[in-house]
Symmetry: C2
Subunit: 665 residues, 2 copies
């Protein structure tokens, strides 16, 4: 399989092919319309010229579509492609000695008449050889060029000029037999996913807390009524915690109490009861038909409904009786509940993924996802994937995406970095991150440099959450409304994918269950809440503004092009995002201190930005509407959290020469 | 082939395995007695404990020899091995859920009596399972431990203590069935070469210039007489340019003149004449028997004779007539001589490696090397390997080393970096470098950081030459005797492998053929020279001293552990080499300016060196014998090229506590 093969005449070497993940073991990720630039080191012995193409095809096809590669420096070659269909593509590099170019290069360096005459004869032989593999018209045309090369009566320089005829060069390139061509070591793969994999804005809510009347159990109809509110804030993914029947056995009470009253609704993650399991709907939420209606209504507003995939069972889940072999049994015959000693979760049975029937279990779980795809759901947030075997995810995601390439999977794994990266390699489209706990400038810069400036970005797409039903950070507990704004702006601008758990977020919910805990007091995980969406201090309008800015500015719709900038006050952070195709540049500055105004000197890399340091340039703050006129690399700014703790500048150049319009888009 | 396999129960992931070259496509290189440290990321879902071993075996064996891997941080694991036999080894990593350790960890965290009792029963089942695969004695012993775990009458804590019995732990580890074990993606390979691949000191001379009487053609007997001189200087490889019959057709004259007189000896690289080709000896040098005698005499002095492999033919080489198909023909039927338009080399015919008989040609060339191995030669310097196909070298080196693992190949490729690295990957034991043209501190630091601090060092062993018969650098032309000393010390201390072309080097030969040329005037490539070895200004004694220091100090015998240090004068360069096993530390400081004394403040990383900054430490200059006493990180030094332009310090700590003896070795 390696490129030296057993044919000693394959003289061209191809190595260092990028992008690739773990030597091609895993797929690179791209989205619809997004480009992929492929580079490789390509060289041969001696001084011959090389031809190289990037071959791309949809998985399953046999023919390669070819893109000519161009040399850069230091034996590096490059080509780019864009993808217009969802699914898996394969790519590879082919390279060979370009004998015509080599000959032409040699001919043009010749000095002695004898040598030129000899070279012209060599060229004519070459043209004849290429012509033999070409269609008749091209063969004839080539033959006429060959004749002109050897035309005895003509002066040598006239004959030599024929060799540079663009038509001849074009024909020879088109009909190059590519003798002894080499192919890169391994066929690589890239999975092309919907644009939403790259750019999405998530809103999580508990359907049971959406009733208009306090104390009532919300339904899918209530969620439907909530859709305009969600859409107005600019969200395009509505993520619902598990919507399945909730177990009655060992049900938890408010604040995770061991004993539940008869009226307590229980945790939605304790899945399964007499009324059904993972493919059923909790009766109090409505019917499957109600759910499909919700999905359709959301779609009409440009919103995808995302479901939670939590592979675990309440003790009264139908599978516990039907498939006892899928669970681990204790010596006394009872089923082992979830534990992390000394903690016990008696309301939840984990699966035994080492069961003899592991394939049956795997197929059933894959079937759960397939079932919901059948109900119109395309996005799945997967609960704790790092506590289930890695091979399960690789199989499940590949199986689902083979038939449904529009599906997306978000990995909710808050665990060690290599485990999180591995899950992403296995196929998860997006991943939760450590963002919630990255607070200082140093922490943020380090983490996002790792995520965006290393090979990790080829397969790992961060999705940033300032809060979740499990995570009420210390920062939010003590930072007040300004901190909610700070964390929102950071999430929305550092990441093209981000989300909030609402209405807790926009309503500034900040009280922990107990001091030092990241659990919410009276968490919706265990009880129904009623939210006053009309409260004057709601962040809904601010969120709507930030999300509108994201929608209007392509630089914020991708994780590439993130650069941090120097600022002489550690309480302030500054970074820009650049969109290559539009040339747009968005500069974000955030005051990380929720209590005090902070000022500092910001230093911008004007040369990288293409800004003339001797002329003024405009900054348009998309949050406040204010326009500033700056000049030079260093400028002072001040942010008071009592107003807005952030600037979201669009950079415009001040003068209106033709080149400058790049920043006026 | 990948580790998730078809079995969804293989839950342990192994990735990021190092060292490896291009995902295992090429071999890592080590030498006899040298260690290899292998690391990998190893993890699983959930919280189970892991067991992991590094498996190592000689290529061709079926059984793995196992070394237990130990966890570091961040899911990284490590193990080390040392090799005691030449040849190719394979290595791989196996990892599995250590169910006994997982169970033990769980048991020890238990609080409730009921849970402890249940866990003990689970443990007994596990012990019984492991026992089933063990020899009878171990099975019985395990059964008794199992019984003690469940011993009804005993207090729980007594039974729990049994689980930690070291004998039980040891037995369970020894008889772990390693259920659902994972294996790393690809079996990797390492080639173990003689120590001389890592540490060698080369001397190149032209045999024909060794006659004791001026004007006479030197012979192998003369070279034999020269051996004590070479040995006294401390060289252990004596490299001879081609020793084969020199073509008469189109023979070149002195200074590469197109016309040669009848008495001109020609270039040794124009190989082949009526008296024979690549497997013959030039009659004027003596006989094959004389050559074998030379090899044996050299061996008695600890010197390996290295031959030059130059795959090209003089027009009168026997192969030109016998195998016209191995050469490229021009339209007029004549054979194409070597060219780099407008330059022409009419005295040399290159092979056509794309010949239909490429396998026949390849076998003949491999046969040439095999022939000289048969004459006792183990080291080959390969001329311009980058102008021959890469697959040829991979095949040739693998073929020769399969039967003769003691052989070494030095690649003389002065070309683009990726081409040089590829040749090393294909099997060359050592490689020429850009050292001759790296002169400033910045250039040297950049280049040697690339060579020693990146993955390149796993396969590329630099061999540093201040001069060669083709390279008389501008620095040597204009720098005088101090520059010869500077370049010698740099080569001998930056690289564990280095060489000089003598006696031109020790006799300070510095006149170019013409201004701006790197060719020597009256080059030995085209004429016989007579050298006065007794000249007072000869560097022979200085070279002998430097080479003795290299032999006595292991830190200088390896390319690992090179670190550059801060010095506030750019004309001075300072670096240390550290030998891990002996703890020895050698600090080299060189004045790069051959004309002026230069002084500066040197800053040493005392913490890395294990030196107490509050106490004095000694520097023993191995070149001058002077001993300095320094204290603290910053110290001043001065080097006058009129004396010796370098310090070669051994660092010793001054105080004599037990820890300090590390630097007294």
């Amino acid at each position: 399989m390696h490129d030296s093969g057993n044919d000693g005449r394959r003289r061209v070497i191809i190595e260092g092919l990028r992008p690739q993940v773990d030597g091609g073991r895993f797929m690179v990720k791209r989205t619809l319309g997004e480009g992929m630039t492929v580079e490789a080191d390509i060289f041969t012995d001696g001084h011959d010229r090389i031809g190289a193409v990037l071959g791309v095809r949809r998985a399953g096809e046999t023919q390669w579509r070819e893109v000519r590669m161009a040399p850069l420096v230091n034996d590096r070659w490059r080509a780019s492609v864009t993808f217009d269909t969802l699914g898996i593509y394969e790519y590879t590099v082919h390279a060979w000695i370009d004998r015509f170019e080599s000959w032409l290069h040699d001919l043009l360096r010749r000095v002695d008449d004898d040598d030129i005459a000899t070279a012209l004869l060599v060229g004519e032989t070459l043209i004849r050889e290429y012509g033999r593999g070409a269609p008749p018209a091209a063969t004839r045309k080539l033959a006429s060029f060959g004749a002109a090369l050897r035309a005895g009566g003509e002066p040598l320089e006239v004959r030599r000029a024929v060799a540079r005829n663009p038509e001849l060069v074009e024909l020879m390139r088109a009909h190059d037999p590519r003798r002894y061509a080499s192919t890169s070591e391994r066929i690589l793969r890239v999975v092309v996913e919907p644009e939403r994999a790259r750019f999405s804005t998530w809103y999580e809510l508990f359907p049971r807390s959406t009733a208009s009347v306090p104390g009532q159990h919300g339904t899918f109809r209530d969620v439907e009524a909530r859709l305009p509110y969600v859409a107005r804030m600019g969200f395009d993914v509505l993520y619902l915690p598990p919507i399945h029947p909730i177990g009655l056995v060992k049900r938890k009470g408010p604040n995770n109490a061991l004993a539940a009253a008869a009226t307590d609704p229980g945790s939605p993650w304790a899945i399964g009861a007499a009324s059904g399991g993972h493919d059923a709907v909790h009766p109090e939420l409505g019917t499957l038909e109600d759910f499909r209606r919700l999905v359709a209504s959301a779609a009409a507003l440009g919103i995808d409904v995302a479901l939670d995939i939590a592979f675990q069972c309440a003790p009264d889940h139908p599978w516990v009786a039907a498939h006892p072999e899928w669970f681990r049994h204790r010596p006394d015959g009872s089923i082992q509940y979830a534990e992390n000693p000394p903690k016990k979760y008696q309301d939840i049975y984990p699966f035994d993924f080492e069961t003899e029937d592991w394939q049956g279990l795997r197929d059933a779980l894959t079937g759960v996802v397939a079932f919901w795809v059948g109900q119109g759901v395309n996005i799945f947030r997967v609960d704790n994937p790092h506590t289930k075997p890695f091979p399960l995810w690789e199989h499940l995601i590949a199986t689902i995406k083979r038939d449904h390439p529009q599906t997306l999977f978000l990995a909710e794994a808050f665990t060690r970095p290599k485990v999180m990266y591995r899950l992403a390699k296995l196929g998860f489209s997006q991943s939760y991150t450590y963002f919630a706990w990255r607070n200082t400038r140093y922490e943020i810069e380090q983490y996002f440099t790792e995520l965006t400036r290393t090979g990790i970005s080829e397969y790992f797409r961060p999705n940033l959450w300032p809060n979740t039903p499990d995570i009420l950070t210390e920062q939010l507990q003590f930072g007040g409304r300004p901190m909610f704004m700070i964390r929102l702006v950071l999430a929305a601008t550092l990441g093209a994918n981000y989300g909030i758990y609402g209405p807790a977020f926009e309503l500034l919910e900040a009280t922990p269950r107990e001091p030092g805990s990241e659990e919410y007091l009276d968490s919706e995980k265990y009880q129904i809440r009623h939210w006053d969406l009309e409260r004057a201090d709601s962040l809904a309008d601010f969120i709507a503004l930030v999300n509108r800015i994201r929608r209007e500015h392509p630089a914020l719709q991708s994780d590439t092009g993130l650069t941090f900038h120097r600022l002489d006050n550690e309480s302030l952070i500054a970074y820009s995002k650049h969109d290559e195709s539009s040339g747009e540049l968005i500069l974000t500055v955030v005051n990380l201190d929720p209590r005090n105004a902070q000022g500092g000197w910001l230093e911008l890399p004007l040369e990288d930005f293409g800004i003339d340091p001797t002329r003024p340039y405009q900054l348009h703050d998309l949050l406040s509407g204010v326009r500033l006129l700056w000049q030079g690399a260093r400028n002072y700014l001040n942010l008071d959290p009592a107003n807005t703790p952030a600037h979201l500048f669009r950079l415009r150049r001040h003068t209106r020469t033709e080149r400058d319009f790049a920043y006026y888009l």
